[in-house]
Amino acid sequence: MNFNFSRRTTVWLAAIIVMVNGFFPAVWILLTSLKTETELIRSPITYLPEAATLENYMTAFTAQPIGRFLLNSVVVAGLSTALCVLISALAAYALTRLRMPHRNLIMSLLLAISMFPLISLMVPLFKVMRELGLLNTYLALILPYAVLSLPVCTLVMASFFQDIPPDLEAAAMVDGCSRVGALFKVVVPLAAPGVFTAGILAFVNAWDEFLLALTMMNRVNMRTLSVGITLYQGEFAFPWPLISAALIIALVPICIIIAVFQERVVGGLTAGGVKG
């Protein structure tokens, strides 16, 4: 009896530690976003807001075009995800289900090239995009973001493609499907969870990226969320309630995605890492 009690306590304690670690920062900015500037500078600091206000949220929308930032992020992350998933599906299929010479070498080469450090890429990519006149266009971010997630998407989809029985594909081809037709009619639907998982990972990667977004887009209206958020601060002043409100607004979409698709995300992360 006593043993059972302490066992349950340990489990609870473990859960609480992990959850405080993960959620505390978000909870703290949520509380901050409800405070006024005057309450903020009081000493000692208050933990719970005394007179909770939603004013910071209104200001967040008027002080910077955060709606536009959101739209930019959705467009860039959405289109780069679509491009990345399509391209890596084809590559993963070729590398797992076709007899190709030097399969492993090609795979390694693809991964090595796409793992090129972003910061080294930033300098020349900026020049290339400037020459092509693509600075401050969505394409300047969509193309590199598609590459950014190419390795993880290829790995995740390769691991799913491998599990599909080749007989199904053969049957489709006997029924008159072309090889590529079989890929889209048989393999992709069966590997849908893998395709979907890869898509979520690509989306989150693109949504979170900062360095290229900072470099390629210098017009306020083209900023994505991750960069747009930093525009709420003055050179010396940090209006924390306002910044917190903007952060909370920016966090909502990503929270919905990970809450709804959490098992997929975890599966994808570990397939790309552990199996990779």
């Binding site: 920062p25 703290w28 300098v123 890492g273």
Partner: protein, 304 residues
């Protein structure tokens, strides 16, 4: 493996089709990676003469690289980057392993714990940087408030070089450890329960079980997680950018931040490219380690 079951197609050979399917990826990589890398090395051998800017970029050979070796700010930024790597790679591993062990409990409801590991992973780095800057604020931050409660004078976390480095490391470790924990948790869940039961019967203590079973079984996951973390740590940018902007002075500036400043603020493309090329060499070392490991393990997978 699929060879036997697939009927022989007459219209196109498999290697041909494979090459065709790989083409989009190859084209994209050529445009976004290979061509820019080419121009990176080319640009790094050029410079604009400040006395005669009209002449455009002039060939200067390896002058930009030689300049880097004499540049104190470059060495400082490199050292600072190395500090972040040396502190946060093992730091995130230890914290991540701790979180994974804590999360690997028979919870009746799994999702809150899983979500609390996913949230820091999904949070953009720059958001994490901003939030931790807020934690470490001198007058209104919660860290100094908690310290005051145990009688410690408020510390100027973001205005002292050493303290700022510590604060940045804490933020990076918090952000990176959740990804570690997710990977290690997946590794933990593949360890057969029977191993622990057998050890229990043999009278092994919890600590012995951890050292003799858990750690060895987790080795592949730990290795992959460490390589990933190292590759990311080499490129540290967002969190110091958001927390200190590289300050005080240039004290917490990383190599990535210095490259960014050289190129976009000082518009010194030649020098920025030389620094970026050096950075490329550093990270190639880490990447090749990762690839050697994956090739070895995929070879092993094929044997099974």
């Amino acid at each position: 493996m699929s060879d036997a079951a697939v009927p022989k197609q007459k219209d196109m050979s498999e290697p041909m089709l494979g090459a065709l399917l790989l083409l989009p990826a190859v084209l994209l990589l050529l445009l976004v990676v290979v061509y820019p890398i080419g121009t990176l090395f080319w640009t790094s051998l050029h410079s604009v003469d400040n006395a005669n800017p009209q002449a455009g970029e002039q060939w200067v050979g390896i002058a930009n690289y030689l300049r880097a070796f004499d540049d104190d700010r470059f060495w400082h930024a490199t050292l600072q980057t190395v500090i972040y790597i040396v502190v946060t790679v093992p730091g995130a591993l230890v914290v991540g392993l701790g979180l994974a062990l804590l999360a690997n409990q028979p919870f009746r409801i799994q999702w809150p714990v899983r979500l609390s590991l996913l949230l820091p992973w999904a949070l953009p780095l720059v958001f994490a940087g901003l939030i931790f800057r807020w934690f470490f604020e001198y007058q209104t931050g919660i860290v100094n408030d908690l310290l005051a409660r145990i009688g410690v004078e408020p510390l100027g976390w973001l205005s002292d070089p050493t303290l700022a480095t510590i604060a940045i490391c804490i933020a990076i470790i918090w952000k990176a450890s959740s990804f570690m924990a997710l990977m290690l948790l997946a590794g933990l869940q593949t360890i057969p329960k029977s191993l622990y039961e057998a050890a229990e019967v043999d009278g092994a203590s919890k600590w012995q079980q951890f050292v003799e079973i858990t750690l060895p079984m987790l080795r592949p996951s730990i290795f992959v997680a460490l390589i990933f973390r190292t590759i990311t740590a080499i490129q540290t940018f967002d969190i110091p950018y958001a927390m200190t902007g590289g300050g005080p002075g240039d004290a917490t500036e990383t190599l990535a931040m210095y490259i960014h400043k050289s190129t976009l603020d000082f518009l010194d493309f030649g020098y920025g490219s030389a620094l970026a090329a050096l950075m490329f060499l550093f990270s190639m070392v880490a990447t090749s380690g990762y690839l050697r490991y994956t090739r070895r393990s995929s070879g092993r997978g094929a044997e099974e």
